[in-house]
Amino acid sequence: MTTPTTATSHLAAIGTALPGDPVDNATLAKVLGINEEWIEVFIGTRTRYFARDLGTGVVRWSLADLCAQAAERALAAPGTDPSEIEFIVLGTATPDTLMPATVNHVADQLGLDQVPTFQLQSGCAGAVQALGVAQAMIASGQYRTGLVIGGDVCSKHLDLGRDVSGAAPGDLVNYVLFGDGAGAAVLTDEPRGQRVALRHVLNRFTGLGRKPGQIIEWFGLADRYDDRQALTEDYKAIEESVPVMAGEILWEMLGELDWDADQLDYLLPPQLSGRMTRRITEELDVPAAQDVSCVADTGNNGNALPFLQIEKLLERMTDGERALAVAVESSKWIKAGFALEKI
């Protein structure tokens, strides 16, 4: 290995995958019997994508399918070559199976073999954690190129058979907030392809003594008939804490990088829902930076979000520009973020 041990990671290519056609609020309202205006006013998400057929409930894409599709697109981009991939890291909260880890199916679908694979069990921060692991692996000098993937299939919990007309907002929101999707990036130890340097990755647990803001249960043979809500969120805590945490992430990273807020060209804010993301972005108050968001159109598809945002970012980013992404995983209050600079 001739690479110095402090090699900077570079984002060479990106790819994303959204299943099927977008589902708009009118369709969703009709299928679920929910008030369409309520979705627009309180959630602010316009469309989302589901891996499961909304009419029949049939699963059309697995998480592995979506992740492999996204990775394939990233690997097809100029400046990347599938044969160079030396490791794969996948972040997801909704693996297809507990075993084998979905990342291995993705490798299989991509025709990759004899590479280390990692899967990080995590919510919205998983993609950033995957970036962090990849960054450390490349910085170690042992690896030069790797594939970082994030994806989620939230529609696993979209129970189409349920009558939600009497449901409380906290329950109802789970039906309209989420979506499915995946994203992937090729990371290299030298500027190639997109030539975007990964300047900083923040990943920090800050939930000591705090109740989770979000829980996704999993069920086994012994408790599969338990009457537990599969997905619960403490929206009040999320609404209160996420904007504050987002601000702290932003300012901490700016401080670490010694970047001035005025020098920031793009801000990739946390993608909770159309409405919350708008609010958080306003509160972050970095007017110099252009907001790069996707959730209003893609729905909250968890670990796919940062990749969808990066994809949008790369359409606009020019040499020398800087972007900073902020993500908050409210499950156990994880702060995450990363900084990009195009060179």
């Binding site: 008030n35 907002p169 109802l172 800050t206 300012w251 700016l254 401080g255």
Partner: protein
């Protein structure tokens, strides 16, 4: 300066009822500021956006919850006196108690010591309200007033005899108090110091003052160093810290939150104006504190600023700091102020900052400063070597130095330099006495059962929240949670079990009654040592395995016996050898077990006031009574067993359910049979030649009396023992024996030994004499022991005592059984100790824990009752305090939740009067959507907070309003959202928007409203 340690903390601030919540609030960057509670004053009466004369420009501030709650019973303060006390005094008193507990000190242990109390306080509003009501100035009103005697009251109730003073230097009061306390500790005026600060806003006076002085933030929020800073918001709070010289704290193994390295106080002198901040004086006080602490400005990693969020104040402070820090190399110094979260807590501001800095150093992370994201560019912080904390700052390992400023409006400035606590973890000293009983005893005391329950739950929650080490936790409970009448104690072997026991005890009155008691008086403990028959293979082996303490003493007994037995009695017991039933081994084995149990208990601080041993049990009793040395007793009992073992077989024992006297006729013709023991009125044991026993037994049984042959190798206490007497006497003569130093109830004499030595003749007589257990036990019981502790491999004597014919005089003594049977281990011993503690024994708790567990472990402090509440009669009016005859000084009441006179409020404030159809329609719709009954809703009710509305309900509410009112259909949800703070707000908005009751025609329309119909279907 010698460092001073902060060892205890307690506080309450807006949005944070305790220290943990305060830290959480800081780390979340949360906002503690909210509307002025109705209990304080009517905001509408005093509010003027323009800040007109006599008015304040804000309706918000940082208010603590439940300022009226006070556990007067706990402090034995009468309701009348409590009602006359300034709530600041009440809050301080409770906070002081909790801070001392947090320091790992039982407050009663400070009683009588020269502990100092220093309180910073500037608000005296209670006095303004009450001392002008001349007709009602009582003795209590006088002493309960404002800052009259705030510190003194703490000293009084905690019985602290060091300096005790309240400090008023306006906003810097509590940091100046800390400065004085530090100096007093260094001057050795006191060894502990409590530093408190308190502020409660009872009237809008200061808000009006700030407004009139142009210093009041319209939103009631301080925004330190922010471009949006526009003045002061008032905040409330109470906080106490416990200070000690660092060396003392370390020597005692106390937890140290942080260390105060240096403090300084100065004055602006004749500056630009009495209330104007002075940059030069601030700069000097910073320099003086750095100098005293012996640090360079560049050493300071972060500073908790005064940071009131006024343009001038922030600028002066930045410049003063800049003087010292502008030239720093490397990163600028981090800066923040808690005032962004709480508002300006005035008299408590210094303590709020001190606690924040101490917690930051303790947790090794400095919380972000609220509003820092909008840093004021005008302040040019970076040019002054400063950076505002926009995100929490993680502190690296190693010593960290921090600064803390507090400036008084009158020009008294204070600054403190703190440092992280030294890394040295308290380690048990080498050669610490071994200890540990194999289980933990968790204890808690409280003045009454309710308080016990409340505190059990508080402790259970804390234990359940996180993995905690059981031993240190329980030991801390033993050390800190003491001093109250009702004693709770329970044994536990893991924390999960402990949590369950605590919660069940709180829920189940019967269980609570079993596990808690108010000791009736001084405990009188009797030790009863079990005799032959109770032995079994592996007796107490489980306890030996679990309890280092028991192990130590069984080993000690074994070592004493070994030269005389030739084989380890301990090993014989532990290996489960059946030879233990042979009297040669039975006697030394029982002696070893009895001795080890007795010594284990005395080591635990259980001191017997009387002793009794059944037959061979008397040897252990004699050792504990210091009538025989351990070695002598070991030799004696080994010889006794060995000699008896040598006797030929052919002897036996017969237990008879009959009185001794009734057996005389059968015994007379049988010289080879004697009465071995009289264990009770109808419990007699005969002993002697087997053939003779056979004859007697048959005769007795023929009379219908129950008899039972005992499984013994020999006829103890019978004429058949005579052959061993001479040889035994030879050995006994060599050993001797003295008069016991503790009362021994002898089973040879059937009474307490009265100046009689337990010497060779006594022990020789002991072999053949009838065991007069019943008489000895009767005599012992007559001396009124409170607890009978049976020491042996299994309980035998307890049952015999219960069967004695005693006159029913009260409940009788409690039976305590450290060993309950073959499976008994640490838990039973711990339960015995728990029972003894409940009964009034003061154990030497350290012996119950291995040295490694003797470390301080923080417990939640005492949870005070919030049941009784005291507050001023609502007399805060624009016209000044009313002193009408019908207005008593203050009111005390229970069940505070019902204080709001909602009915009156409703009729008074309802827009448009009682016949307002828009209001009626809204109230109606709100009731229907929320499922409330007619009377429950009023205009003041807040839709989200009070009525629990959520977004789905808002949608439904809009539909219902459309159905009920004309002119609403055009409104969107977005139009409504900003006007949904309260029902009244919504009514006002709808009226502004031209909503009107539907006419007859409208009415028909509204019934047709499709949205409404749809909602009705889905509702």
């Amino acid at each position: 300066m010698e460092p001073v340690a902060i060892v205890g903390i307690d506080c309450r601030f807006p949005g944070a009822p305790d220290t943990g919540a305060y830290w959480d609030l800081l780390m979340r960057g949360a906002d503690g500021v909210g509307e002025v509670p109705r209990q304080r004053w009517d905001v509408t009466e005093f509010h003027s956006q323009a800040g007109e004369e006599g008015r304040t420009n804000t309706t918000e501030g940082g208010f603590i919850a439940d300022p009226d709650a006070f556990d007067n019973e706990f402090f034995t303060i009468s309701p009348r006196e409590a009602a006359a006390m300034d709530p600041q005094q009440r809050l301080l008193l409770q906070s002081a108690w909790r801070a001392v507990e947090d320091a790992g000190i039982a407050p009663r242990n400070l009683a009588g010591t020269r502990t100092g109390v220093y309180v910073g306080i500037m608000g005296n509003e209670w006095a303004h309200l009450h001392l002008t009501d001349y007709a009602n100035v009582t003795a209590q009103v006088g002493s309960g007033n404002g800052y009259c005697m705030t510190a003194n009251r703490i000293s009084y109730h905690l019985d602290l005899k060091g300096p005790s003073l309240a400090v008023d230097t306006a906003c810097s009061s509590s940091l100046v108090a800390a400065h004085l306390a530090v100096n007093a500790l260094l001057a050795e005026e006191c060894d502990h110091a409590l530093v408190g600060g308190v502020n409660v806003s009872l009237t809008p006076a200061l808000s009006i003052f700030y407004t009139q002085a142009g210093l009041s933030a319209p939103d009631g929020r301080c925004k330190p160093f922010s471009s949006e800073a526009n003045g002061i918001g008032r905040g409330e709070g109470v906080g106490t810290v416990v200070l000690r010289r660092l060396r003392d704290a370390l020597a005692d193994g106390q937890r140290v939150y942080a260390v105060i390295r240096g403090t300084a106080v100065n004055q602006d002198g004749r500056s630009n104006g009495l209330t104007a901040p002075n940059r030069w004086a601030q700069q000097e006080v910073l320099g003086a504190a750095y100098h005293r602490a012996g640090v360079e400005p560049a050493d300071v990693v972060f500073t908790e600023a005064h940071g009131t969020g006024t343009g001038l104040g922030d600028m002066m402070e930045v410049k003063a700091l800049g003087h010292h820090h502008a030239g720093r190399s490397g990163r600028p110094m981090a800066l923040g102020s808690v005032k962004g979260n709480l508002g300006h807590t005035e008299g408590a501001a210094g303590i709020a900052g001190l606690i924040k800095v101490a917690l930051s150093l303790h947790h090794r992370v400095v919380p972000a400063s609220r509003y820092a994201a909008k840093e004021s560019k005008q302040l040019k912080l970076r040019d002054h070597g400063l950076r505002l904390l926009k995100a929490p700052l993680r502190l690296p390992t190693g010593p960290i130095v921090a600064g803390l400023s507090s400036f008084g409006m009158g020009g008294t400035n204070a600054h403190a330099v703190l440092e992280s606590a030294p890394a040295a973890r308290p380690e048990p000293a080498d050669g610490a006495a071994p200890g540990g009983i194999g289980a933990a005893v968790f204890t808690l005391t409280a003045p009454n059962a309710d308080a016990l329950r409340r505190n059990l739950l508080a402790q259970a929650d804390a234990v359940a929240a996180r993995r905690v080490p059981l031993g240190p936790l329980a030991r801390s409970s033993n050390r800190v949670k003491t001093g109250h009448r009702h004693r709770f104690a329970t044994a536990a072997t893991d924390t999960r079990e402990l949590v369950a026991a605590l919660r069940e005890s709180a829920d189940d009155p019967d269980l609570l009654a079993r596990l808690s008691a108010p000791p009736a008086g001084r405990p009188r403990i009797a030790f009863l040592f079990t005799g032959q028959g109770a032995q079994h293979p592996r007796m107490t082996a489980a306890l030996y395995a679990q309890s280092p303490l028991y192990r130590r003493f069984l080993d000690e007994a074994d070592a004493a016996l070994l030269p005389h037995t030739g084989r380890s009695v301990r090993d014989l017991i532990l290996t489960g050898d059946d030879a233990v039933h042979g009297t040669r081994w039975t006697q030394p084995a029982l002696f070893a077990v009895g001795y080890a149990l007795g010594r284990t208990l005395t080591e635990l601080g259980v001191r017997p006031g009387m002793l009794l041993g059944h037959s061979v049990g008397e040897f252990a009793a004699a050792v504990l009574a210091r009538a025989l040395p351990l070695d002598g007793a070991a030799r004696l009992v080994a010889a006794r067993g060995a000699l008896m073992q040598e006797l030929p077989a052919g002897g036996g024992m017969l237990s008879v359910r009959a009185a001794r006297a009734d057996l005389a006729a059968w015994l007379e013709p049988e010289p080879l049979v004697g009465v071995a023991a009289v264990n009770g009125p109808t419990a007699t044991v005969l002993s002697g030649d087997l053939a003779a026993l056979e004859r007697i037994g048959a005769a007795i049984a023929a009379e219908g009396i129950t008899t039972r042959r005992l499984q013994v190798s020999h006829a103890f206490h019978s004429p058949l023992m005579r052959p061993v007497l001479a040889r035994f006497a030879e050995i006994a003569d060599e050993i001797g024996g003295t008069v016991p130093e503790l009362p021994v109830y002898s089973t040879v004499r059937g009474r307490v030994l009265d100046g009689e030595a337990m010497d060779a003749p006594y022990w020789v007589e002991h072999i053949g004499a009838t065991v007069l257990f019943a008489d000895a036990a009767e005599a012992l019981l007559a001396a009124d022991p409170t607890h009978l502790v049976e020491l042996g491999p299994q309980p035998v004597l307890s049952g015999m005592v219960r069967r004695l014919d005693r006159p029913a005089a009260g409940a009788g003594p409690a039976h305590v059984l450290p060993v309950r049977g073959p499976e008994s281990a640490g838990r039973d011993l711990a339960e015995a100790l728990a029972a003894l503690y409940r009964g009034g024994v003061e154990p030497d708790w350290d012996a119950a824990y291995p040295p490694g567990e003797r470390i301080a472990h923080p417990l939640p402090p005492y949870a005070f009752s919030t049941r009784t509440r005291y507050w001023a009669r609502h007399s805060v009016r624009t016209t000044g305090p009313a002193a009408g005859p019908a207005a008593p000084a203050s009111v005390a009441h229970r069940e505070p939740e019902t204080t709001a006179a909602s009915a009156a409020v409703r009729t008074l404030d309802r827009p448009g009067g009682p016949a307002d159809p828009v209001a009626d329609a809204v109230l109606d719709a709100v009731r229907q959507v929320g499922g409330y009954a007619d009377a429950e809703i009023g205009p003041h009710d807040r839709l989200y907070e009070d009525l629990g509305f959520d977004s789905v309900m808002i949608m439904e509410l809009k539909n219902r309003l459309e159905a009920r009112l004309a002119g609403v259909a055009g409104l969107t949800v977005q139009d409504l959202l900003p006007r949904l703070s309260s029902v009244g707000d919504l009514v006002a908005f709808l009226r502004e928007s031209g909503a009107a009751p539907p006419g007859p025609a409208h009415h028909g329309d509204s019934q047709e409203n499709p949205a409404f119909r749809e909602e009705e279907r889905t509702a």
